[in-house]
């Protein structure tokens, strides 16, 4: 028998006060298995002990929200009897240790969160952040993560339709791998995790349990140090084939009236799934681990309870329906085993080899979980004024060439070509646009999906950065012609026990909350990943936002590629020339100072609504929001994707670097055919929106005053950076 020593408690990430609470509530010393259970349930990952206070401030409702945070995924009503089910989740630490398997199992986990609710997954997205390109691990990690995401998504047959990739030195030893999944369900066929019915069976389905990822949940929440290599054997291996079987088996069973509650076994495996299901139902649960299908011999209660083997689910069903369920899982050649029963004791009882190994009041685990209002200090960068004389002397198109061949602005084609983004044949807008568009199968309705975050803004001013991330997601959904509905988020930050990191978290979530409120764009699901630091150095605060919008009629949407020569190019929204924290400032001037551009939420909304009307009334079919890199980069992306050039003759004030490369927010570029100009002006004037006519689409080159470059040359630059980097020609 393991004696519970002080060291052992510490090793389990349980602090002194927490342990005291355990002793006083149990009125005895916990068993080793119980200690493991407490440690998993009270880890940052499962308990949100540092973040709960701030998360509670986020708006989570609007008229379309069916299910907000608290379930496996969020659910929105998208009309015609359909619901969209979505969530984003991090797999940062496992991916740093083993990039292929870490990323792959990240995808597997988020897929399960969605299909456990009765939705068929229809799209995957991923938000990735790596260290600077010259760092010795970056190439290996990039390669492994991208092929791991592809390996899993391609095999299971869910299209990976978009995401983001960023390189920055703050992620050198702590990359971020955030995966998002969107599924579609019938509104009257949604499944939840709340257990009910004393006497109902607790059923284990899916793959067998091995010693994978034991301590995964505690690992994901503890700061990295140089000894983290020793924690390696805990990495799980993904089996997308089994997941595909599990997906089909679950969806098949969900057509029958059998499942009372269902939940995937994610972080902290059987522990958190059983505790959460019983807890939500205000019931007790008794599990006999001898019935858990195991892959290895002699697994202890502790190991089985904490294993994070993948591709497993826990269900509650009525005893008389056991046979129906069993038959389906047998057809798909998956394990199916009744491992326990619900009762009204409100306790968790775990047996192994006829002995009770754990017996805890579920209330102690859940309501008794620690929650901290950690001290915080918000640090904003002082504003600075980059002097005219410090701007680059190069002409704009020369700078553009450098930007489109830079790690953070080059084409991501190398990434998305490794993802099957077309399987299911409902991908209407492929990766490369502002948001992906997925058709709801067999209908003329669509979902627009985007992921966004600008961590360098968040570092300089976390409140503004949080606000901006939400606004940018909203903008990307607007610009393809959808109605933005709601978001999921993945909040990646450093060590919350440090005041300035907690300050970043507090301010960023407040900024997010503010933007969500103003834009009627609530948070319906999400995930927090803290302790993203290595040897004491924190990452840039990275609140990744996954936004979902609805397109009611797929005959009308907008894309960013130029469509015709001779169209008039307009920029919509105020251009003030904010270059602090722009890519121009950081990449070209190597200047990382100052306050990021601020989002004026009233303008954001007003401009967005105008774009929405222009698209809906078929006045425009071409639009692009202006984000990283500013106006000229946005224009170049439109030209490159449409394979049509442009000619701009700009007066001095409009050809300045501040104008062309500044990153003022809430702006769009649209193109107008001659006969549509009046109608558009009328609307924009009525809404008092600033606009400016820049020039026309034309030919096979980009012309800016006396400078020009061929589309072909620019395309070559834009599309070759990744290949050159990966083949080692570029650092």
């Amino acid at each position: 028998m393991n004696k519970i020593s002080k060291e052992l408690v510490e090793e389990h990430g349980i602090n002194e006060d927490e342990y005291k609470f355990i002793l006083s509530s149990l009125k005895r010393e916990p068993t080793f298995t119980e200690l493991g259970i407490f440690s998993a349930m009270w880890s940052e990952h499962c308990s949100y002990k540092s973040s709960k206070f701030w998360l509670n401030k986020l708006p989570t409702k609007n008229e379309n929200v069916i299910q907000g945070p608290g379930e496996n995924a969020g659910i929105i009503n998208i009309g015609d009897g359909f619901a969209a089910v979505f969530k984003m989740e991090s797999h940062n630490h496992p991916s740093f240790i083993e990039p292929y398997q870490g990323a792959a199992t990240g995808v597997g986990g988020i897929l399960r969160d969605v299909f456990t609710m009765g939705a068929r997954p229809v799209a995957l997205m991923n938000s990735l952040r790596f260290g600077e390109t010259s760092h010795n691990k970056t190439r290996h990690l990039l390669n492994g993560v991208v092929s791991g995401i592809g390996g899993y998504g391609n095999c299971i047959g869910v299209p990976t339709v978009g995401g983001e990739v960023e390189f920055n030195s703050s992620y050198n030893d702590n990359i971020l791998v955030n995966a998002m999944c969107v599924g579609v369900a019938k509104i009257d066929k949604i499944f939840y995790s709340k257990a009910s019915g004393v006497g109902n069976l607790v059923v284990y389905v899916g793959s067998k349990t091995g010693r994978d990822g034991i301590h995964g949940a505690t690992m994901a929440s503890s700061e990295f140090d140089d000894s983290s290599d020793e924690k390696r054997p805990t990495v799980q291996v993904g089996d997308p084939f089994s997941e595909k079987l599990l997906l089909e088996a679950c969806l098949e069973l969900m057509k029958e009236d059998v499942i009372i509650a269902i939940q995937d076994m994610g972080a902290a495996g059987l522990t958190s799934s059983s505790v959460e299901m019983a807890g939500k139902g205000n019931l007790g649960i008794e599990i006999d681990l001898d019935y858990v299908p195991c892959r290895e011999i002699n697994m202890s209660a502790y190991e089985i309870m904490l294993s994070e083997s993948q591709e497993r689910m826990l269900m509650i069903i009525e005893p008389k329906k056991e046979d129906i369920a069993k038959k389906i899982f047998e057809k798909w050649e998956l394990d199916f085993s009744v491992i326990g029963i619900l009762n009204d004791s409100k306790r968790l009882v775990i047996k192994r080899n006829k002995e009770i190994k754990a017996e805890i009041d579920i209330d102690i685990l859940e309501k008794g979980a620690p929650s901290y209002q950690r001290p915080y200090k918000i640090i904003n960068m002082k504003d600075c004024n980059i002097k005219e004389s410090n701007l680059s002397k190069e002409p704009p198109l020369t700078i553009l060439k450098q930007l489109v061949y830079s790690p953070n602005l080059s084409s991501r084609k190398w990434v998305w070509e490794q993802y099957d983004h077309m399987v299911m044949t409902d991908t209407v807008l492929n990766p490369g646009g502002d948001a992906a568009i997925i058709r709801i199968h067999d209908t003329n309705k669509g979902l627009a999906i985007t992921t966004d975050s600008t961590p360098r803004y968040c570092f300089a001013n976390p409140y503004e950065g949080g606000k901006q991330a939400v606004a940018e997601a909203w903008r990307n959904l607007i610009t393809v012609g959808s109605r933005p509905i709601a978001i999921t988020d993945c909040l990646n930050f450093g060590n919350p026990e440090k005041e300035e990191i907690m300050g970043q978290f507090a301010a960023a979530t407040q900024g997010m909350a503010h933007a969500c409120e103003e834009l009627d764009f609530p948070v319906v699901s999400g995930n927090v990943s803290l302790y993203n630091e290595t040897n004491g150095k924190g990452i840039n605060p990275t609140p990744a936002i996954g936004g979902v919008g609805v397109i009611d009629n797929l005959d009308i949407f907008s894309t960013h590629n130029f469509k015709r020569e001779g169209d008039n190019i307009f920029v919509i929204g105020k251009t003030l020339g904010s270059i602090n924290q722009s890519i121009y400032a950081t990449e070209i001037l190597q200047n990382n100072n100052g306050c990021p551009p601020k989002v004026n939420l009233a303008d954001e909304k007003n401009n967005g609504k105008a774009i929405q009307i222009l698209i809906k009334n078929k006045i425009i079919d071409t639009s692009h929001d202006i984000s990283d890199g500013g106006l000229l980069v946005a224009l170049a992306e439109m030209a490159l994707s449409g394979n049509i050039g442009f000619e701009l003759l700009l007066e001095k004030e409009f050809s300045s670097h501040r104008f062309l490369f500044g990153e003022d927010q809430s702006r769009y570029i649209i193109t107008l055919q001659n006969h549509k100009i009046d109608e558009a002006m009328l609307l924009l004037n009525e809404k008092r929106i600033q606009y400016h006519n820049l020039g026309k689409t034309k030919g096979a080159k980009l012309v800016l005053n006396e400078e020009e470059i061929s589309l072909k040359e620019l395309k070559n630059l834009h599309e070759s950076w990744f290949d050159n980097y990966l083949s080692g020609k570029e650092n």
């Binding site: 083993e98 398997q101 793959s207 994978d212 390696r232 054997p233 291996v237 084939f241 089994s242 993948q310």
Partner: protein, 83 residues
């Protein structure tokens, strides 16, 4: 000198390929199969005369590139000595 590096999933690490092979063999009627694991083998041709040097170098290459030490173990064997 010709050298083989045999790379197998570590004990306890999930091996979905091995599992699939086992199931398939059983379905084909090979009832005596009690387990299967799949690994990789890399055959290297080295321009080295000395056995010790070759082994040391191969170990280095295996750790650095050929095997994924997080989930795999490797084993080296010399198959053709030039001498």
């Amino acid at each position: 000198m010709k050298i083989y590096v045999k790379i197998m999933p570590k004990e306890g690490v999930l091996d979905p390929q091995g599992k699939a092979i086992e199931n398939s063999l059983k379905q084909l009627g090979f009832a005596n199969v009690q387990g299967a694991r799949q690994g990789k083998i890399v055959e290297l041709n080295l321009d080295i005369k000395n056995k010790e040097d070759a082994l040391a170098l191969t170990r280095e290459m295996s750790e650095k590139l050929l095997a994924n030490m997080v989930i795999e173990d490797f084993e080296i064997s010399i198959i053709k000595d030039d001498l």
